[in-house]
Symmetry: C2
Subunit: 440 residues, 2 copies
């Protein structure tokens, strides 16, 4: 039950808001990167590019407080990690990896070939991205689950080199669970590097860290800014832009307030900037959820973090579930929980979201860990035009075409007409030369 | 035959180069965007964001030299365009569109569902990106083919709103062939806007131009910079980073020098910064190609442009075809032509390329126009980690999970163990509450 005092969440009535207030309600906190941050990251990137491992050593000493002679995790440290990780945790990671693998494997895009005209065969062939770099944060907590979410699809794609960076601890070691997760997925090389310096190392390559073609994974503001800068500069591709994590729950009158509150709190505990929204057509449910949040909050180890996130949370009464979906599509949440009596019937109404959780017994935590779906998902409305990580994120799709003499006879005329319309003579010439030869 | 005088191309021997020279040979011209360009584009974006259509009118008057009361192409102008386009060109566009549609449709990613544990179903559902913006340049030549390459997959994806911008001509009209191509693909709204201002209009939305979630298409340096800036700022997603177009040809002793020369020239005529490379293990072939280039060059309407591109071209003798593929994979060309006796046998050796052309009778021009593959492809080495435009470029892939009570009983323990290992109590609570309820 709620304590006497102000509730940690705020309630709104959608119908009572004008368009400005509605826009404000759905606005994410501005992701304005301070000029100082941008410049600090740019300087760090330039330093790593110029001085390589020496720069990494200096930066790691400064930010992680540890002097490392080398960054790569060796056989001894892996063995120690395996010894340190409890059997139950190891087994949970293995089970999670197996389900992640099953789901991701079943969704792999297939090559195909098609004769588009007599003598003209067009194909899609698939190649793994050769060298990928995975970043596994360990800020407020190490995240072995993220190592699984990135490492499993990288292995399925067949990437030749899978580099994984995770921050060193004060004693110079890496988190054992992250190391075990990395080995479970078959990451080829693991380095104890954190923050923007890890991104710099994988983007530019250094004496010890291989240069990677594409970088993946969540991280703090510096990591995100570093990823953006290397992507912008064409140094390495990145998986997606990243912002604070977020959940939107659509609940009807029959939803279980205890469950809904627990789901909102599990988003809130991620960080003080986590985004938490509840939309419901039932006032009483909203009231019960609000009370439940305060009741559950008191017992959480990360209550302080959650309370800060909840101060910006929004519990919104909406006139109808239909309106709730319109609002959700406008917001495009990373996680969308449908705490509805017939959630599947509403699935078609979802236009944009990272990952959707159907019904009362599918908490977001299942998707975070072990249902099989990926938890690296688009945030901050990016779900309007980006998708979560999949095997395809680690692959290149290469088109191939092959025309026989009959093929160019069949479609050469079409190409000629278009080339001439665009004023591209040499294009036309490359076609007509072959057509002429064919007749010869 | 070559004129007496300096050939327009340059020859190299890979084996005679040291690593520095090899790196220089494969380096693209630095895509350094001048600070002035960056600032000009940023100012233009801010102006369009602030003043909307009024800013568009001012900028269009300044850069396109035409005062437009409105930007949207109406029924009358479409009718005039249809009347102006010759039947043969219209038919060629229809044929090309049909093959592009057939190839792209066959490659569409499918939804799927999988039970990953008893009572746990994970799915991928597919949603069109709601509002997409296509940019069709008309700088040195209008490109109706680009309207087809972007519009056809957008229609297959089912995008609700397909906005297309193309620059106005001096008389205030748009290129008729581009308009016909736009209508062929079912673009919903067409605007006469060019350059960075078109990107700004589609990214921010104005009174007349709808705000789009993702922007597609090639363009000049200003267009590219504008796309990068709106993507970086999280305003709109973009298809891929863009640079000058490029081709790499791998030719053996049996290749036809006339064809190879024609293909190199059709790349060179795109623009003075086009990249042209030939790798061959046969010196005689290289000599014949060099002579042929000069012979054909003289007859081209865009010979000046081609000559400037060729001045930076590289005809490279390599010790073996195997080495040629190693070099090609390192370079990761946008277009890769295999002028080989058994090209298919070599296809497995291709690790990174945008689009591949097999054998003597498959000039790049076929893929540019009408084989069925897409011609919007990654340049500047981006093919290491980006793919060409496909239907998937216009879609979001949303993961969905649904657990029954049995489902959470089956995998809840796994999630609990991982949540506790990561110190995320509320995550654990969201799971254990449901598991407890199930037992009640």
């Amino acid at each position: 039950m709620p304590c006497n005092g102000t509730p940690s969440t705020r309630r709104y009535d959608w119908d009572a808001l004008d368009e400005t207030a509605r826009a404000a309600l759905l606005a994410r906190p501005a992701q304005v990167v301070a000029q100082r941050t941008r410049e600090a990251v740019a300087a760090l990137l330039a330093d790593v590019q110029a001085r390589g491992d020496e720069a990494l050593r200096d930066i790691t000493a400064r930010f992680d407080g540890v002097d490392l002679a080398g960054f790569e995790v060796g056989a001894d440290e892996f063995a120690a990690a395996h010894a340190a990780v409890p059997a139950a945790l190891r087994e949970a990671m293995e089970q999670a990896a197996a389900r992640i693998e099953a789901f991701h494997r079943a969704g792999m895009v297939q090559p195909y070939a098609l004769e588009t005209a007599p003598g003209v065969v067009c194909e899609r062939v698939i190649r793994p991205i050769s060298r990928v770099g995975l970043y596994v944060p360990a800020g407020s907590a190490p995240l072995p689950s993220t190592a699984l979410m990135l490492g499993v699809p990288a292995r399925l794609a067949g990437c030749r080199e899978v580099v994984l960076c995770t921050p060193p601890r004060r004693d110079g070691s890496a988190d054992p669970a992250v190391l075990v997760a990395a080995q479970l997925t078959g990451a080829t090389r693991v380095f104890k590097l954190g923050g923007a310096q890890a991104i710099a190392a994988m983007a530019y390559g250094t004496g010890s860290v291989p240069k990677c073609d594409k970088l993946f994974g969540p991280g703090n503001g510096y990591v995100t800014e570093a990823k953006q800068q290397v992507a912008q500069g064409g140094v390495a591709a990145i998986d997606m832009p990243a912002g604070p994590s977020e959940v939107l729950v659509i609940a009807d009158a029959g939803a279980d307030a205890e469950f809904v509150a627990a789901d909102l709190l599990s988003q809130a505990e991620h960080g003080p900037d986590s985004q938490v929204l509840l939309l419901s057509d039932d006032d009483a449910l909203i009231g019960r959820v609000q009370a439940e949040i305060d009741a559950q909050l008191a017992k959480l180890s990360r209550a302080d973090i959650a309370r800060r996130a909840l101060s910006a949370s929004r519990l919104v009464r909406v006139p109808s579930l239909r309106e709730a979906f319109a609002i959700s599509n406008r917001y495009a949440p990373e996680h969308l929980i449908l705490a509805l009596r017939d959630p599947r019937a509403w699935l078609d109404s979802v236009e944009a979201a990272g990952s959707v959780f159907l019904g009362d017994y599918t908490p977001e935590a299942l998707g975070d860990y072990c249902s099989g779906t990926n938890h690296v998902l688009p945030t901050s409305g990016a779900a309007r035009a980006y998708s979560g990580v999949s095997v395809a994120s680690f692959q290149n799709f290469v088109s191939v075409q092959s025309a026989s003499r009959a093929g160019i006879a069949a479609i050469g005329g079409c190409a000629l007409t278009l080339a001439r319309a665009e004023g591209l003579d040499a294009h036309a010439n490359a076609v007509s030369l072959r057509m002429g030869r064919e007749a010869a």
